[in-house]
């Protein structure tokens, strides 16, 4: 058999959520009354389906096989002559199956309603925890522009006064290792130790942040998460990642990374 055909069969099989689903489909296709299933026809069609699967070398889920045996059992029971004269005693062998089918159908319908609710729910967007600082920083922020000005004035005048005595600074050659993981991990650890929670976006907001910087930072966050020193939370795909420190993260981690990577 050629490939497309196999794919088609596969598709057909996978369309059924389980044996009840398949049975329901057959009952509806044959326009049967669910309370009076022609068990012979249904059993034959059901088995035909499984045989198709088998010839295609598809794995038949055990759930489907179990149902096949149930159907065969009911069929055989219905073929047997009724021995008892007591009609009250006589149970329809199909009864349990019918009850199961009705129960399943009920939830299948409910699942469509639930799916609709989900689609409605998906139309709401939620914000992330605010990245504003609500610590003691209020006073700092409010007076800071002034502070900055005063500071600047202060330093410069101070500096001018002692200018003559100051030794010249040696220009250091800047090494190009700004973005190594170990270094970044330390930055992340430090920030986490100070803030408990950081926003990934916020952390790399710098407009010119180089791709490498972001990648390395992301790696270091993953590294911390792997060691369970940080928890990562993302509300939805592509949204911000909130990095939260765990109890395992301590001051000594800072040292550790320095030592390891020295």
């Amino acid at each position: 058999m050629n490939q497309p055909l196999i794919e088609e069969y596969k598709l057909r099989l996978e369309n059924f959520e389980g044996p009840f689903d398949l049975l329901y489909h057959l009952i509806e296709k044959n326009e049967m009354d669910i309370y009076d299933i022609r068990i012979g026809d249904i059993t034959d069609q059901y088995l035909e389906y499984l045989f198709d699967m088998q010839t295609l070398n598809l794995d038949i889920a055990s759930d489907f096989l179990l149902m096949a045996s149930t159907l065969l059992h009911i069929k055989s029971k219905m073929l047997l002559p009724v021995i008892s004269d007591d009609e009250e005693d006589e149970l329809d062998p199909r009864e349990v199956l019918v009850r199961q089918l009705l129960e399943y159908k009920k939830y299948k319908k409910a699942s469509f309603a639930i799916k609709e609710l989900h689609e409605a729910g998906n139309r709401y967007f939620y914000g992330l925890p605010s990245s504003e600082d609500f610590g003691e920083t209020k006073k700092v922020y409010e007076v800071s522009p002034l502070i900055l000005k005063e500071m600047y004035k202060g330093i410069v005048s101070r500096n001018e006064r002692k200018k003559n005595y100051k030794t010249r600074y040696m220009e250091k050659i800047l090494r190009h290792d700004r973005f190594t993981v170990e270094k970044k991990i330390r930055v992340v650890i430090k920030t986490l130790l100070n803030n408990a929670k950081i926003s990934f976006f916020e952390f790399f907001k710098k407009k010119e942040a180089e791709k490498l910087d972001v990648v390395v930072s992301f790696l270091s966050i993953l590294e911390l998460a792997k060691e369970r020193k940080a928890k990562l939370n993302q509300n939805r795909i592509f949204s911000d990642i909130v990095v939260e420190k765990t109890d395992k993260l301590t001051e000594s981690d800072l040292k550790e990374y320095i030592d390891i990577y020295k």
Binding site: E17, D63, Y107, K109, A110, A113, L117, H118, F125, Y126
Partner: protein, 180 residues
């Protein structure tokens, strides 16, 4: 404190939180009684709905959360350039329906209703945060019980499990002619 000021503080709290905030937490922050805060919350929710607002407040089981007005979904979506569909598989919805309508249900019960094994589907739902373990059944094997979470309510736009349509409304069963 004036009512208006209280409302503004509540807005600020809900905005900053970005998550569900319980009535008790809000009351604690305001140093007010829950009984005083609850009607204010209802007013606030109402007013957002009435005057049409870009941001609304949802109530979920005695907690509150800000969200965008779903009416503007098509605009907000452009911000994230994400596709609409964040849907689950049919198997997941069926399993979720069974758990939602049968609080504290075992895997065996779910499998009996659906006729297929449910382990991996349940795990998916747990990962998504829609389902959680709620304990164990006092029966042989002490099987785990499952229930839906607040995250389920939030994501499925329900205020409480009672908001679900009654399961009977989905029933095909004949009532009258069923007597044996």
């Amino acid at each position: 404190m004036e009512i208006n000021e209280i409302k503004e503080i509540i807005e600020a709290i809900l905005f900053a939180s970005g998550d569900l905030v319980s009535l008790s937490k809000i009351s604690e922050i305001l140093t007010l009684d829950e009984k005083q805060v609850r009607p204010i919350m209802s007013e606030l929710i109402e007013s957002k709905l009435n005057k049409q607002s870009g941001i609304i407040i949802k109530e979920i089981e005695n907690s509150y959360q800000m969200s965008t007005n779903p009416e503007y979904f098509d605009y907000v979506r452009k911000l994230f350039e994400r596709n609409t569909s964040k849907t689950l598989s049919q198997a997941a919805y069926e399993t979720l329906a069974i758990i939602a309508y049968n609080k504290n249900v075992t895997r065996a019960k779910i499998e009996a209703i659906r006729g297929v094994s449910a382990g991996s589907t349940i795990n998916t739902l747990i990962e998504k945060g829609f389902v959680e373990e709620s304990g164990r059944l006092e029966a042989p094997g002490r099987p785990v019980l499952y229930r839906t979470t607040d995250e389920f309510l939030r994501s499925f736009n329900l205020r409480s499990p009672a908001d679900l349509f009654p399961i009977e409304s989905f029933s095909d069963e004949k009532k009258e002619d069923e007597e044996e």
